[in-house]
């Protein structure tokens, strides 16, 4: 099974002190009030994913956000997944519908 995380904020189970500190060093942020984690620095994003996978005991994927329509969508099913070096990482992208829809694209361009 694969765990899908929200790229903005996400919750983790209670962590051991060392693991928590390690995640903070790797670039995560923790909001005490909401008890939610978020990504502060993307410099070590692959290591963050590895650590999260170990903590949650499963593969981790993040939802992508489309820069055109704003929808969240998974990398699964993307035609370019084999050549993408940032697959499943929480970065912006363009969803397949927006990429193929010329009319929508022209509307998007006029908005800019």
């Amino acid at each position: 099974m694969t765990i899908i995380l929200n790229s903005k904020v996400f919750k983790l189970p209670r962590l051991e002190r060392e693991k928590f500190i390690n995640l903070m060093h790797l670039g995560l942020d923790y909001n005490r009030n909401t008890m939610m984690f978020s990504i502060n620095s993307y410099n070590n994003i692959e290591k963050v994913i590895d650590e999260l996978s170990i903590i949650l005991g499963d593969d981790i994927v993040f939802h992508q956000s489309c820069v055109r329509c704003g929808k969240a969508f998974p990398c699964k099913g993307c035609n370019y997944i084999d050549v993408c070096t940032t697959k499943n990482l929480p970065f912006s992208c363009v969803c397949s519908q927006c990429l193929r829809d010329r009319k929508q694209f022209e509307e998007y361009l006029t908005k800019l």
């Binding site: 993307y42 994913i49 370019y80 970065f91 912006s92 363009v94 193929r100 694209f105 361009l109």
Partner: protein, 414 residues
């Protein structure tokens, strides 16, 4: 002045605003926050990532948007201590008086931009890194650096004083979207599949994708998939960590082979890293044994390749790929051991090896033998003699220091 129509599209469509820079939104936010002084915990910023992903473009667009004057030094300039001090010192030693006014179009001051700092090398650029370090410490204006490879040793001091902002390869859909936009503005009728192929071929390099689009679309303003057939694949640098990650998570031998062919990691280091990490990858001993068998075959091929038989490289890749695909279904993420244990060990034992070499050089001088011979045939006996009697006459004969005597007596091997 060049007409707009004669311009390279890379220049013509170079983003003028920050929001126009394609991809790497997270890096953009971090950089802009730093530039606006919100995250000024470090005095300089180091933007790093592959070529053509928008590092320089972002700096130029941000400078334009915030009305900074860019003082730039790039790889085409000599960047010795003297040259850097001549250009960068005056630019960073004072704040512009304009910065106190909020005039609409006036420059609010300088930013120093040192592009391709990883290219500072050789005699011509002697003292360059130290000069930059001093400038960063004393600078009154933002200092921005850009590099493709931040992991090279000489950049370590610069990394300590800089906020690091990583740029990733731009995603294929984002490049396609940008190419679509350019096609629309240039009235090029392009097949979607052709744009797709250009974007995929660029491997995340926006600059090369735009150049390919311009060269292929030609004067007839049309582009078909057939036109893109002449494009050949670009080899991009993939770090050893990333290569290991992809190597171990692979699903097939063919995928791993082609991934290795695209990577430019040092094959010897990579092989050592694979050997170190195999026990973490395979918990089943039978699978681990098979994987090591393939890794040893790869090692054999690497030996045969040497420095000239590169036609054997495919067999090396194939054997190595087999080691990764013994049981693809059993893959679970784990933390990699890098750099290779052997290299770490060599690093940690450097001092000890130096002491032993000094001792052997002294023995060699007295006994007229090479250092190697002294190490192999003399040291075991000298050790035995000194273990029995620390002040043995050979100590003065070989002119050994007390530290060297202590080292020989307590050394583990032989």
């Amino acid at each position: 002045m060049q007409k707009q129509t004669e311009l390279l599209w890379v220049e013509k469509y170079r983003p003028k605003k920050i929001e126009e820079v394609t991809g790497n939104d997270e890096a953009k936010v971090l950089f802009i926050e730093w530039l606006k002084n919100k995250r000024h915990t470090k005095k300089a910023v180091l933007l790093y990532g592959p070529a053509g992903v928008g590092k320089t473009t972002l700096v130029m667009a941000a400078a334009k948007e915030f009305n900074f004057t860019v003082i730039e030094m790039n790889a085409s300039d000599t960047r010795s201590e003297k040259a850097i001090n001549a250009v960068a010192k005056p630019a960073t030693a004072y704040k512009s008086l304009d910065s106190f006014s909020d005039g609409t179009n006036k420059s609010i001051g300088n930013i120093l931009f040192l592009d391709e700092v990883d290219g500072i090398a050789g005699n011509e650029d002697r003292g360059g890194v130290n000069a930059i370090l001093k400038i960063v410490e004393k600078s009154l204006v933002p200092v921005i650096m850009a590099a493709n490879d931040p992991d090279i040793g000489k950049l370590r001091p610069l990394k300590k004083v800089s906020l690091l902002v990583r740029f990733q390869q731009v995603r294929i859909p984002l490049i396609i979207a940008l190419l679509q936009k350019i096609c629309l503005l240039e009235h090029v009728k392009a097949e979607f599949e052709a744009l797709e192929r250009i974007a995929q071929n660029s491997r995340g390099d926006v600059r090369s994708a735009i150049n390919d689009l311009q060269s292929l679309s030609g004067e007839n303003h049309s582009l078909t998939l057939q036109d893109t057939m002449m494009l050949h694949s670009r080899n991009k640098d993939i770090s050893i960590d990333e290569t290991l990650r992809r190597y171990f998570s692979t699903q097939s031998i063919a995928d791993t082979s082609s991934m290795l062919a695209f990577s430019s990691v040092d094959y010897d280091d990579f092989l050592l890293s694979v050997a170190d990490n195999l026990p973490k990858r395979y918990t089943d001993t039978a699978e681990l044994a098979r994987a090591y068998e393939y890794a040893s075959q790869a090692d054999m091929f690497r030996g045969r390749i040497g420095t000239e038989n590169w036609h054997l490289l495919k067999y090396f890749f194939n054997a190595l790929a087999k080691a990764s695909a013994v049981n693809p279904q059993s893959y679970k993420p784990f933390t990699f051991i890098t750099p290779p244990i052997r290299i770490i060990t060599l690093f940690w034992t450097k001092n000890k090896r130096n002491i032993l070499n000094n001792i052997c050089a002294k023995i060699g001088e007295q006994c007229h033998v090479s250092v190697e011979t002294a190490k192999l045939t003399f040291i075991p006996y000298v050790r035995l003699m000194l273990q029995r009697r620390r002040n043995h006459p050979i100590v003065s004969s070989f002119k050994l220091t007390p530290e060297e005597v202590n080292y020989i007596v307590t050394m583990g091997r032989y």
